[in-house]
């Protein structure tokens, strides 16, 4: 059973003094998939990943990663996992080639294999031209390619990526995700932590974390379908005024402005959500149009972090 899963955790908890950074997290992450951790800063994403790598000892609960118990068997696990840090952590004063050679040697790749693997990666990641350049002088996108190449050099079965695309432009980000899907197709399991919705949307499955607790999990589609709220979109030339008219209404728990549009989340208990909102707008003499719409991942995120997500029960 656990062979189908790259990561299985039960009641995983980590406390730092009074603070409970990760609270009874239960995960089942299938192999060969891209799984996302979506959550605001301080929601326990990094702490969870560190426990899964065996770098932090859980206060309670257990985790089995690639069939190995952590932290007990962490040293054996290190050969099977890759880790791409949020901050560029290769040596800026070594060249692209020297960095890759260093990592290959650290992982004790057989000498015969080393050269071929490095060549293959430099080719595949468009680094061949840059091989003699110092890593510190690379652009954000190039650094990211190098970091990913280094992280998968030893062909890990499981790859952790900690907010991997925070420092690159949109085009590099697209290319980067193409590579991640390619890795997943070849059987690698990927765990990506992020606070970008568009990144979370690309994952096969994801868990939304808030203050150390998994508040929602599933595929992006089931998450969107399972939101326990109405979403009404309001369009108005005077969006700020419209917002002030809507926000205090009972049952409205979130209003987000996007330029001239407002995205309003309401409790499911309200019978005629669109009419309810429109009435309030008319009463405030605010010219605006409104319509009921389907939930996006961001709406799920907002609802879940406010404790208003109940999975598929709605």
């Amino acid at each position: 059973m656990s062979d189908d899963f790259a990561i299985v955790t039960e009641g995983l908890t980590r406390r730092f003094g009074q603070l409970t950074a990760v609270n009874r997290v239960a995960l089942r992450i299938p192999r060969g998939r891209i799984y996302g951790f979506l959550g605001p800063n301080g929601s326990g994403k990094s702490t969870t990943i560190r426990m899964l790598c065996g770098l932090l000892t859980p206060s309670e609960g257990e985790a089995v990663v690639l069939g190995l118990k952590v932290p007990g068997e962490a040293e054996a696990l290190k050969r099977k996992i890759g880790y791409m840090t949020q901050r560029f952590s290769l040596y800026e004063d070594l060249t692209v080639l020297e960095n890759l050679q260093f990592i290959a040697e650290i992982f004790c790749l057989p000498r015969a294999r080393r050269r071929g693997r490095i060549e293959e990666l430099m080719e595949g990641f468009h680094l061949t031209e840059l091989r003699r350049q110092w890593a510190g002088t690379l652009s954000g996108g190039q650094k990211q390619r190098l970091a990913l190449a280094a992280a998968i050099l030893h062909e890990p079965q499981l790859l952790f990526l900690d907010e991997p695309t925070s420092a690159v432009d949109p085009q590099s980000r697209r290319d980067f995700w193409e590579r991640l899907f390619e890795l997943a197709d070849n059987g690698t399991t990927l765990l990506v932590s992020t606070h970008y919705m568009d990144e979370a949307e690309r994952c096969h499955g994801l868990a939304i974390l808030d203050r150390g607790v998994v508040v929602a999990d599933g595929t992006p589609a089931t998450l969107e379908a399972g939101i326990n709220a109405w979403v009404v979109e309001v369009e108005s030339e005077r969006a700020r005024v419209a917002r002030n008219a809507i926000a205090p209404l009972p049952g409205v728990f979130s209003v987000t402005q996007l330029g001239a549009r407002l995205r309003v989340l309401l409790e499911r208990e309200i019978d005629e959500p669109q009419g309810y909102i429109q009435a309030a707008l008319d009463q405030a003499h605010t010219p605006a149009t409104s319509r009921l719409t389907s939930a996006g991942l961001e709406d799920v995120f907002v609802a879940a972090t406010q404790g208003r997500y109940r999975g598929g029960s709605a």
């Binding site: 770098l55 932290p71 996992i81 952590s89 040596y91 800026e92 004790c108 280094a150």
Partner: protein, 366 residues
């Protein structure tokens, strides 16, 4: 246009940051205190109580008086008697004594004749300050017997300075300088090299790889050991050809002793690296260690001139032991076995600091 509020805002901000940087604040207070204590109390160029051995072949009452008078001058402190001058010189080579007094069998006859010195003073005159102190003794007069007219004749002691007969200070300084330079570079290099890795985030990458603590530490240390040996060779060559500093002992012993000293400094650098949060802090801590090392080790000022408390502190510093060892080998031709005490002290220091470093250097983050 300048504005006093703006200026004061910068001043206030700077003071706040300074008060929160505890290490820098500690240096602001600590450095002057350290300096004044060291220079005021510990550093004493007026050398007293030099460890001394006596060969008394006369065995008379007058020779006993001579010894008592010499001790009364407070320059020497007789710690043992020796059978003959061979034993005396051996003890000096081992670094056990700085001064030897030889009173010949015909001591009293020599006193009467007054045309040559009655006794011999053997001095480890490698240190000019010790030599200076010993010279005061030669001007001493025997108080007991005022009938003897020796003030206008030959001095009471004949001075014999076997290890630095030309009294050149370079001879004395250069061996110790090896220790000083190694202390400065070795401690700092290791400390900074590891802290830099943490500061730049490289360590975050490394802890997720199979690399072991010990591999990481030893791997980082080896290049610096080689650098240290190169530095020593450079100093030895310059000392030899520019200043004609002799290497009386075996060159192999010089390198063995140096290797041990390098190890002691590198492990200390490792400990500092586990304490410092930034490269700057590592530099501050190194400096804190370097200052007492250079002042108390006996490199600059004679060990015997320092008060007891300062001597205890100095015994903890590796440089103190290395200065004794390297001077013993290079100037007095001692071999490593004869300097075993100081070598053991260095080995103990290395073992202790390495243990602390390994214990403190956690691969896990918690």
């Amino acid at each position: 246009m300048s504005c006093i509020t703006r200026l004061l805002a910068v001043v206030r901000k700077e003071v706040r940051q300074l008060a929160r940087d505890r290490l820098t604040f500690g240096m602001i207070v600590g450095i002057p205190m350290l300096q004044i204590m060291l220079f005021g109390f510990a550093i004493n160029t007026d050398v007293r109580h030099l460890d001394t051995a006596v060969v008394d072949q006369a065995g008379s009452q007058l020779s006993a008086t001579l010894i008592a008078d010499a001790e009364a001058s407070q320059v020497v402190h007789v710690v043992r008697t020796a059978r003959d001058s061979t034993e005396l010189q051996e003890r000096m080579r081992r670094g056990e004594i700085a001064v030897g007094i030889v009173i010949p069998a015909d001591f009293e006859r020599r006193l009467q004749q007054n045309d040559r010195s009655a006794a011999q003073l053997i001095v480890d005159g490698a240190d000019p300050l010790i030599l200076g102190a010993a010279q005061k003794l030669t001007q001493m007069e025997l108080q007991q017997d005022s009938t003897l007219q020796q003030g206008d004749g030959a001095p009471l002691f004949e001075l014999y300075n076997p290890y630095n007969p030309e009294r050149r200070s370079a001879v004395y300084i250069v061996p110790g300088l090896i220790g000083v330079i190694l202390t400065m570079t070795m401690v700092l290099f290791t400390a900074v090299a590891i802290v830099r890795e943490r500061e730049r985030g490289n360590l975050e990458l490394l802890i997720n790889t199979p690399v072991r603590n010990i591999e990481l530490m030893v791997g980082k240390i080896i290049p610096y050991i080689i650098i240290g040996l190169l530095q020593v060779s450079l100093i030895l060559l310059l000392g030899r050809f520019l200043f004609q500093v002799p290497i009386v002992g075996a060159i192999g012993d010089v390198y063995l002793a140096t290797l041990l000293f390098i190890a002691a400094n590198l492990t200390l650098g490792l400990v500092i690296s586990t304490l410092a949060a930034s490269q700057f802090q590592a530099m501050q801590m190194t400096f804190f260690f370097f200052l007492p090392s250079i002042l108390l080790s006996g490199f600059m000022f004679p060990f015997d001139g320092m008060p007891q408390a300062a001597q205890y502190i100095a015994e903890v510093l590796p440089l103190t032991h290395f200065v004794r060892i390297i001077r013993g080998i290079m100037l007095r031709g001692a071999d490593l076995l004869e300097l075993l005490g100081d070598i053991q002290a260095l080995a103990l220091f290395t073992t202790l600091t390495l243990t602390i470093a390994v214990l403190r250097f956690h691969k896990r983050l918690d």
